[in-house]
């Protein structure tokens, strides 16, 4: 059995993180941890050691961008993959399976589970460089 990949889901909306955990774990391929406070993302990463972080952008305490920046600056965590799942882009700007914008991967809410999974897989399979 292949090792399940670890995904940290960060969103200030509890409903959102709960649903994401359900959906992703239902595939059987992932172990999902929820986080509702962006500020704690770094700490959670050190503890959980995710392969990928699913990051909302619009968060009250520390927004997704700041989290991403903090992660990339951390020597230990900068290899972690990041996918932004956010309401601020539209399906026009981002195809259903996500797109790279300025070096970052974006997914637009609402997203179909299948598209979400496809995007996550694509990122995980990427060679880090």
């Amino acid at each position: 059995m292949t090792q399940k990949k670890k995904i940290l889901v960060v969103d200030d909306e509890v409903m959102m993180t709960r649903m994401l955990k359900r959906s992703l774990e239902a595939t059987g391929n992932y172990e999902v941890q929820e986080l509702n406070h962006g500020a704690r993302a770094l700490e959670a990463c050190r503890t959980f050691m995710p392969d990928l972080v699913l990051l909302d952008v619009m968060m009250p305490d520390m927004d997704g961008g700041e989290v991403a920046a903090a992660l990339s600056e951390d020597s230990e965590l900068n290899a972690v993959k990041i996918v932004f799942l956010t309401a601020i882009v539209t399906k026009d700007e981002v195809p259903p399976t996500g797109a790279d914008i300025s070096g970052r991967t974006f997914l637009a809410k609402p997203v179909k589970t299948a598209d979400l999974v496809a995007c996550i897989e694509a990122q995980l399979n990427r060679q880090a460089f």
């Binding site: 909306e13 409903m15 959102m16 649903m19 994401l20 359900r22 959906s23 239902a26 619009m58 799942l85 309401a87 601020i88 539209t90 399906k91 026009d92 809410k109 609402p110 997203v111 179909k112 589970t113 299948a114 979400l116």
Partner: protein, 526 residues
């Protein structure tokens, strides 16, 4: 003429030297200059040259006697002004009367009483002086009168009861361009001056005045000059009554062309003011609109975000439920409906965001026909499904212009979809593209600030054979939609316009005469 500064002159006429000497002696040294003539002819000559105030004339003279001399003196305008006193031994009444009839002012019988002569002479000199003063004064008044009449810048006609011009003042002569002779003695209605009524008396405006004695007034009349030119006049015709009988009329007219010009200018200024007011109001409306939209925009961003999250949850939930195996067909249906609902909600939010966002264009040189073709390709399925025939008239010679192909594609898709939906089944979709040169931006319905006369532009027309649009002005308003509930958000056209706007172009929609709508998109070339 009497010269006020010269001493008065008295001419003594007698053929007898002694008589003259006596008379001379009597009257000398009294302040008046004495002149002497020995006979009638001499008297006439001297009177012509010296113009004496008074002539003392003997009657019995050889050649022409005193009476004849007097007659001639009174006939000659040069000597008429001298007063004549007869001096004679012929002292009967008959001669006295004859003398008076010939124009003499007095008669002194010889041998005369010196005091009497002196008194009479001085009385008559005084009378002569006064008469001269009176004449001078009258001339002065007459001149003043003339001056007043001439100074008036109102023309005056005096008419008799038949409408014949009996008086014109210099201003009337000047204003009509006719000479005095041309005006005086002519019937006023034949002069064709006022209103050009020709020779018909009854039609002439002054007719009622001359016939009924009513005042006739026209504030907005016209005077035709002799040379045919016309100018605006205000005229007034008032009746003249002599002992309560209508005897004529006075016409006073005034050139009001300056006033009329001022009125016209005022009117023009007013019209311009009105226009400026309208433009101002329109600008104000646009500003209000923009402000509304701005607030909508801000609202939209917030709403979008708030709605998207729940939608995302629902979507994931739907997917999850779909993964749950179920034999119940209803469950599957429910799941499908829910999915569709999520999509629709999402597209509303998307549309709202699109609308509100201050998008930026990525302008790159491109071929508009290519964009059109791409958009047509994307709606091809719909065309086939609705059995709509496509007519394409794209000018290949348009060339390259700066455009954001993605956004324009969105625009064309939107326009095509609207047309398809308006036609329902069967119909013709016509798409044209060409280069046009604008002669007059206003007449072409284009914003003069964006487009200048003579500028070449790209115009794309999309014509359909559908039901047309009911409210032309509302069409670009956000959320205005004629589509039945569920089929359209109504945001499409306003976004479309926004994109065209960002291209610094224009879009307008009109109903076609033959039915259906015509969408025209105008884009700048450079």
């Amino acid at each position: 003429m009497v010269h006020a500064d010269r001493p008065e002159q008295v001419l003594l006429v007698d053929d007898n030297a002694t008589n003259l000497q006596v008379l001379y002696q009597t009257l000398s040294g009294r302040g008046y200059r004495l002149l002497v003539a020995r006979n009638g002819r001499q008297a006439l000559e001297i009177a012509q040259k010296s113009e004496p105030a008074l002539i003392l004339l003997d009657i019995m003279m050889p050649d022409i006697d005193g009476f004849e001399t007097c007659r001639r003196l009174k006939q000659d305008p040069r000597t008429r002004g001298s007063a004549v006193i007869f001096l004679s031994a012929l002292d009967d009444t008959g001669n006295k009367v004859k003398g008076m009839q010939l124009g003499a002012v007095d008669y002194i019988a010889k041998p005369f009483d010196p005091d009497e002569v002196i008194v009479r002479v001085e009385i008559h000199l005084k009378i002569h002086r006064l008469e001269a003063q009176l004449a001078r004064r009258n001339r002065q008044l007459e001149a003043d009168n003339q001056h007043i009449l001439a100074a008036m810048n109102e023309g005056i006609f005096g008419l008799d009861i038949d409408g014949t011009v009996v008086f014109v003042n210099p201003a009337a002569v000047c204003m009509t361009g006719c000479s005095e002779q041309e005006l005086l003695g002519r019937p006023v209605h034949a002069l064709g001056l006022f209103g050009g009524f020709g020779a018909c008396v009854q039609a002439h405006p002054f007719y009622s005045c001359l016939k009924e004695g009513r005042i006739c007034h026209n504030e907005d009349g016209e005077l035709t000059r002799r040379d045919g030119t016309r100018f605006a006049v205000e005229y007034n015709c008032s009746p003249i009554f002599e002992d309560r009988t209508l005897s004529g009329a006075v016409v006073v007219f005034k050139d009001i062309s300056e006033r009329k010009q001022a009125e016209r200018q005022l009117k023009r200024a007013y019209t311009e003011l009105e226009k400026a007011h309208r433009e101002l109001r329109d600008a104000q409306m646009r500003l209000i609109q923009a402000a509304k939209l701005e607030s909508v925009g801000r609202l939209a961003a917030g709403v979008a975000h708030e709605v998207k999250n729940p939608l995302a949850v629902i979507q994931l939930g739907v997917d999850f439920l779909a993964g749950v195996e179920s034999d119940d067909g209803v469950v599957s249906e429910v799941i499908r409906d829910m999915e569709e609902a999520v999509e629709r909600a999402d597209s509303v939010v998307k549309g709202l965001l699109d609308f509100s966002r201050e998008s930026t264009l990525t302008l790159r040189p491109g071929d508009i026909n290519q964009v059109i073709d791409h958009a047509l390709h994307l709606v091809d399925h719909e065309l086939i499904q609705h059995n709509i025939r496509l007519e394409k008239q794209l000018d290949e010679g348009i060339g390259i212009i700066d455009l954001d192909s993605n956004k324009l594609q969105q625009v064309f898709i939107n326009v095509f979809m609207n047309a398809i939906q308006a036609m329902g089944r069967d119909g013709v979709l016509t798409v044209k593209s060409r280069v046009e040169r604008i002669e007059n931006p206003d007449r072409a319905g284009l914003d003069r600030e964006r487009f200048s006369a003579g500028e070449p532009v790209v115009q794309v027309e999309v014509l359909d054979t559908g039901c047309g649009i009911a409210e032309e002005s509302m069409v670009f308003d956000p959320f205005y939609t004629t589509k039945p509930t569920g089929q359209g958000t109504g945001l499409g056209l306003s976004v479309t316009r926004k994109i065209i706007d960002l291209h610094k172009g224009m879009i307008d929609i009109r109903n076609r005469e033959e039915g259906g709508a015509a969408v025209r998109i105008t884009l700048k070339m450079g």
